[in-house]
Amino acid sequence: MYRYDEFDHAFVRDRVARFRDQVQRRIDGRLSEEEFRPLRLQNGLYLQLHAYMLRIAIPYGTMSSRQMRQLALIADKWDKGYGHFTTRQNIQFNWPVLKDTPEILDALADVEMHAIQTSGNCIRNVTADHFAGAAADEIEDPRPIAEVIRHWSTGHPEFSFLPRKFKIAITGAEHDRAAIKAHDIGLRLKRDAHGRVGVEVVVGGGLGRSPFVGVVLRDFVPKEELLAYLEAILRVYNLYGRRDNKYKARIKILVHEEGIEEIRKRVEAEFAAMEGPSLTPDPDELERIERYFAPPSFEELPNLSPELDEAKAADAALKAWVETNTHAHKAPGYAIVTVTLKKPGEAPGDATSDQMRALADLAETYGAGELRVSHEQNIVIPHVKKGDLAKLHAALVAHELATPNLGLASDIIACPGLDYCGLATARSIPVAQDIANRFKDHDAARAIGELKIKISGCINACGHHHLGHIGILGLEKAGKENYQITLGGDATENAALGQRIGPGLDYEDVGPAVERIVEAYLAHRASPDESFVDAVRRLGVEPFKTAVYEEKDRDAA
C-alpha cells in the first residue's frame, strides 16, 4: 500500500490546520456561510438533511487494517457508531458537529487519510477495480497509476475550478468491475502488439440527468505519456466545457455536443503542443510508488484446498458463501473474499464500528492487513488462503457479516436518499431493505442468479440506477414519492443504460413490482443459464412491462 512521504504528511497536516482556522472563523462570525461553504466542501464537509456529513476519501478503495480501525474510532468518538461506504469507494459519517471536524481530519491524517477531493469542481478521488492486484484476469495492478494521478491532480492549480466535478476510474482487467464507462474518464490497462502495457482512454461517460456511456478517445496511450494525455483532456475540458449551465457542464455534454471526432482533434492538438517530458513522472518516484503496491509474498500452494472442500461438505452455509462471495485469485491456493454489507433489512453500505474493527482484525489475521471498498458498497479482503476461508467465514458469521448474497438480488446499491441527503427527492434505503427482504431466501435468490438492482433517490444518480439490471429512480410527483423503473442497464465492459418501462410507481408498489419483474424473468428465460440481463436484452422490456402494469391492475381489480 502507498505510504506518505514527508511532503504528503506536511501537505495533509497543513490542510487540516487551515481548515481548523476556517471553522473557527465561521464559528466566531468572521466568515459568512457563503464564504465558508466552498472551504468546507473542499474538505469533504457537507450540510445534509438532519446534520453535517463528512465524506472521507479512500483512494482507489484501498485501505489498511490500521486505517479501518481509525474509521471505527471516528465513528465512536465523533459520530454515532457507524459509517456508510459509498459508490465512490468513500466513507461518509452522517452526524459530525462542526467544531469536531478539524479533530476528525487530524485523526485521519494520523493514518494517512483525508477528505480532500471528495467535493467541489475538481478532479475527484480516483476509483479503481476493487480486485486490483489480486484478480486472476488482470494485466497489471492499476493502483500505482491511480496514485500517480492522485499526486498529479491533488491541488492542481489549473484544474481546481473546473466547469464541474471530474471523476476518473481505472481498471487493469478486461472485465470491468470499476464501471469505467460511466466516468468522465475511464482508463483500462491493455497490451499493444509488442506486449507493452498502456492505457485505453474512454471519455464522456456519466450518469445523472443526462446519462451517457463513455466512448474511446484513444485506443492506446503508453503509460509514461498518460499524465500528459490526461492533462490535454482536462485542458480541453477546462477551456471548452460549458459554464453557463450547471446541468450541461460535465465533459459528457461537451463530447455529446461537439462530437468525439472534434474532441479528439482538440485533445491531440493540445497533447502534441505539450512539453511531454515535464509531465512524465520521474522514474525514481514512479518506482517508489510501484514498490508500495508490490503484492504480499504469497505462499506456494496447490490451487485446490482439501481442507476447504471438507469444511464445505460439512457446512452448507460455508459452501453457499464460498460459492457466491469468493473470486479467483491470481495466486494459486488463494481467493478474493467479498464481505457484503447487505444483510437483508440493513442499510446497504453501512457498517458499525464493531464490524469495522472485526473486518480490520480479520484482514490482518487472514488477508495481509489490506481491505478494499467496492463501488457496490461492499468490503473486499483481497488475499485469503483457501485453507483459511472456513475460519474467516465463522468469524464473519459472529459479526453478522457473512450474508452469502454477492451479485444476487439482495446485494443492492442504494444511495443515502431522503433519509439523509439534502438533494434527494425520495427515499432509497427503505426501498432497498424492502426488496432485499423479499429475496432473502438464499436458494430462491441463487435460482434467480446474478441480478444487480441499483437505487437512486434523485436524478443525480449516486446509486447508479441507469446501470442496474433493474434500476430504480426515486422522484417526487404531486407531493408523493414516486419511483421510475428501468431495465437492462449494465455497469461492465458491456455498459448499457437501462430502458424505462413506464409510469412511475408509488413507494409501497416498488417491492411488489420488482417481484413481478423477477417472476416474469423466471417464466420467460430461455434456460436457467440465461441471466436476467441477457433475458432483458433478448426479450426487450415488454414482457416485464406487462408483468408490472397489467398484473398490478388485475390484482387491484
Binding site: 465561521r26 464559528i27 462570525g29 459568512s32 456561510e33 450540510l47 445534509q48 438533511l49 438532519h50 446534520a51 453535517y52 454515532k80 452526524w95 459530525p96 458537529v97 462542526l98 467544531k99 442499510a347 431522503l418 433519509d419 439523509y420 427515499r427 434505503i429 427503505p430 431493505q433 407531493g479 408523493k480 414519492e481
Partner: protein, 109 residues
C-alpha cells in the same frame, strides 16, 4: 379565484450542530416544528424569512416551508421531506430527533 395562501414556516440548520431548526414567534429558534411561527400571508412569510436570515452567523440555509395548522392550532409539516426533517432517518428510529425529542432550550437547561 386566486389560490389561497398556504401557511408557511421558516426552517434552517443550526450552524454548530447541523440540526434542523425553526424560527419562533419571539425571533429565536426551536428544534420543534410545532413551536414554529406561522406566516399566513405572503408578506408575513417574506418578513419572517428576512428576519431569520439576519441570524446568518448562527444558522445555515433558511427557507420557507409549507405547513398546516393541526387540531391544537400548532403547525404541522405537510410535505414528506419536511416530515422526515422533523424525525430523522425513517428506517432508523434510534437516530435523529425522533430518538431525542428535546428542544434547544431543554438541552441547554
Amino acid at each position: 379565484m386566486a389560490k389561497a395562501f398556504e401557511p408557511q414556516i421558516v426552517t434552517a440548520n443550526d450552524l454548530l450542530l447541523g440540526d434542523v431548526i425553526y424560527r419562533t414567534e419571539a425571533g429565536g429558534w426551536t428544534r420543534e416544528h410545532r413551536e414554529a411561527a406561522v406566516a399566513h400571508t405572503k408578506e408575513a412569510a417574506e418578513a419572517l424569512l428576512k428576519a431569520a436570515e439576519a441570524d446568518h452567523l448562527t444558522i445555515v440555509g433558511a427557507y420557507l416551508a409549507p405547513t398546516r395548522l393541526g387540531d391544537d392550532g400548532r403547525p404541522e409539516p405537510t410535505h414528506f421531506r419536511e416530515i422526515f426533517r422533523t424525525t430523522g432517518p425513517t428506517f432508523r428510529t434510534d437516530l435523529g430527533k425522533q430518538a431525542e425529542g428535546k428542544s434547544l432550550d431543554e438541552e441547554a437547561a
